[in-house]
Symmetry: C2
């Protein structure tokens, strides 16, 4: 069993009401790999960086048993860079600067040895690039999960809809679900999106938890009320990593098991936001994860 992770590996510069970072390691695939590494030891990464990307950061992923053979390192080019500033409520952010750099011409190449992945996680990336990965896969994975965002809906909605046709699980936030479906009610939005390709839809609501839909059922996982949210960057990717990591570990893609998987996703996201960037994800243990899962369960446990 293995997971194929496709997404950005990047530099981020982040400002929140609690502080400010210089260029730190980020990118959707980085968070997904770090998060899923707590559940799986066969994680295969397809991404691209420039020559400026530190070897120590690649080594960090390798230490987490991530196979970086699919990570292209472009000589003389620069790594994708994003900088953003979060508002006081932490739910909204402004992009200050985006330097696409190596992403501008990124042609994903799935190494032959990655072709057998049973779980494919397409992290937030240009939809046409996500589609190129789907088109390279010779044997259909057991489960394909795609994450995307409003930015791509604004620019490349048709490309996104094409990619969605091949996908099992879509993960987006509430506003994106409304934009994609043109429905305000999330229940109606989910119904419509589940006719576009995905059999499952996860709507991430940040501090308000997440919803998992299939055609006939809905399940809700809360977010843990936290004393402080330092930096929401990567929370959605950490969620996706915990989700797909747990599914791979258990090799069970039933709706019942997806319920458990989104709990682990929420657990990983709750850690992610407690420090800047990837700091917290690189400093927790399996014991921390188990303990926090119990907090989540206790938060909603009721007996009648």
């Amino acid at each position: 069993m293995s997971i194929l992770v496709v997404g950005t590996v990047a530099f981020d510069a982040i400002e929140t009401p609690f502080g400010k970072t210089d260029k730190i390691i980020g990118g959707a695939a980085t968070y997904i790999c770090l998060s899923s590494s707590f559940f799986s030891n066969k994680i295969n990464l397809v991404s691209v960086v420039g020559e400026d990307f530190p070897k120590t950061a690649i080594q960090l992923l390798k230490n987490k048993k991530v196979n970086t053979k699919g990570l292209q390192i472009k000589k003389g080019e620069k790594t994708f860079f994003w900088s953003g500033k979060y508002h006081n409520n932490m739910n909204n952010r402004d992009t200050i600067e985006t330097q696409l750099n190596v992403l501008e011409t990124f042609e994903p190449i799935v190494p032959a040895e990655f072709q057998e992945a049973e779980f494919l996680m397409l992290g937030n990336l240009m939809p046409s690039v996500q589609k190129k990965v789907l088109d390279q896969i010779t044997k259909r994975p057991k489960l394909i999960v795609l994450d995307t965002m409003n930015f791509w809906m604004d620019l490349f909605m048709e490309d996104l809809k094409r990619a969605l046709k091949d996908v099992d699980v879509l993960t987006i936030n509430d506003e994106e679900a409304r934009q994609l479906s043109e429905e305000y009610s999330l229940v109606k939005a989910a119904k419509k999106i589940l006719t576009m390709g995905p059999k499952y839809l996860i709507i991430k609501k940040g501090e308000h938890g997440a919803l998992l839909f299939n055609k006939s059922e809905v399940f809700f996982v809360p977010a843990l009320p936290l004393e402080e949210v330092f930096d929401p960057t990567g929370a959605g990717d950490s969620f996706a990593g915990g989700f797909i990591g747990y599914l791979e570990q258990t090799n069970d893609i039933s709706f019942e098991n997806m319920k458990r998987a989104i709990y682990f996703g929420s657990v990983m996201a709750s850690f992610c936001v407690e420090k800047f960037g990837t700091e917290k994800l690189t400093n927790i243990t399996q014991k921390d994860i188990d303990k926090r899962l119990q907090e989540f369960i206790k938060l909603v446990k009721i007996e009648y």
Copy 2:
């Protein structure tokens, strides 16, 4: 066992993206009484209306076993009137018109036979009026619940803080919790508010559920994802009615039982918003409530 409900009985005119009503029956106490009547048959109302208030509406409350002896009917005066318009997201609303009318000079009088109430629900009302009720009570009820809103915090924060000292449970929404505590994090806000008098705090988050805090624990109840929310008016009051109604019915004010009670509160709120005004609350049965409770439980039920 009985519940003393204090709050407004009013006319509302409501506009939502789904439609518009003329003057209909509303007011916090109306919703609280209707909602709690599914759990308790000893509900005692203290409020005030004008001569223009329809006898049929009072009869409706009496039919629900609400004792209206404390409902003052002011000859030649007019009932409190509020009109508001909800934005597309239903989370925000603008007040179009407020005619205080009888509320301007409202002096609550608790009839002698209501003095023995074990449960006191102080619905959203001017804090000094809520305090006047507290000062009239000769025997302290087993549980005092107070609901309020940002409007009173803006105008009469000191009065509100005085009333809070005598209260067991405070119910407010997330923005109000932030305003009252001057803390952004809801966990920090709760800690601070629980030093102001209340031993329990319920933070209502509308479509995002509700949190119940005591000094050392937190519990979360989700909101049911609904196809349509027609009119959020009275949802918080219906929540409060279900909450205190269930506590009275079970005569158990432990934290464990409060968890069950906020489930019933959420169930009642979920019905309330499905039609305009009080329409839905007057057209459901015990069976509907039991069925919906099961939907809530299923929404978060997980087995590991």
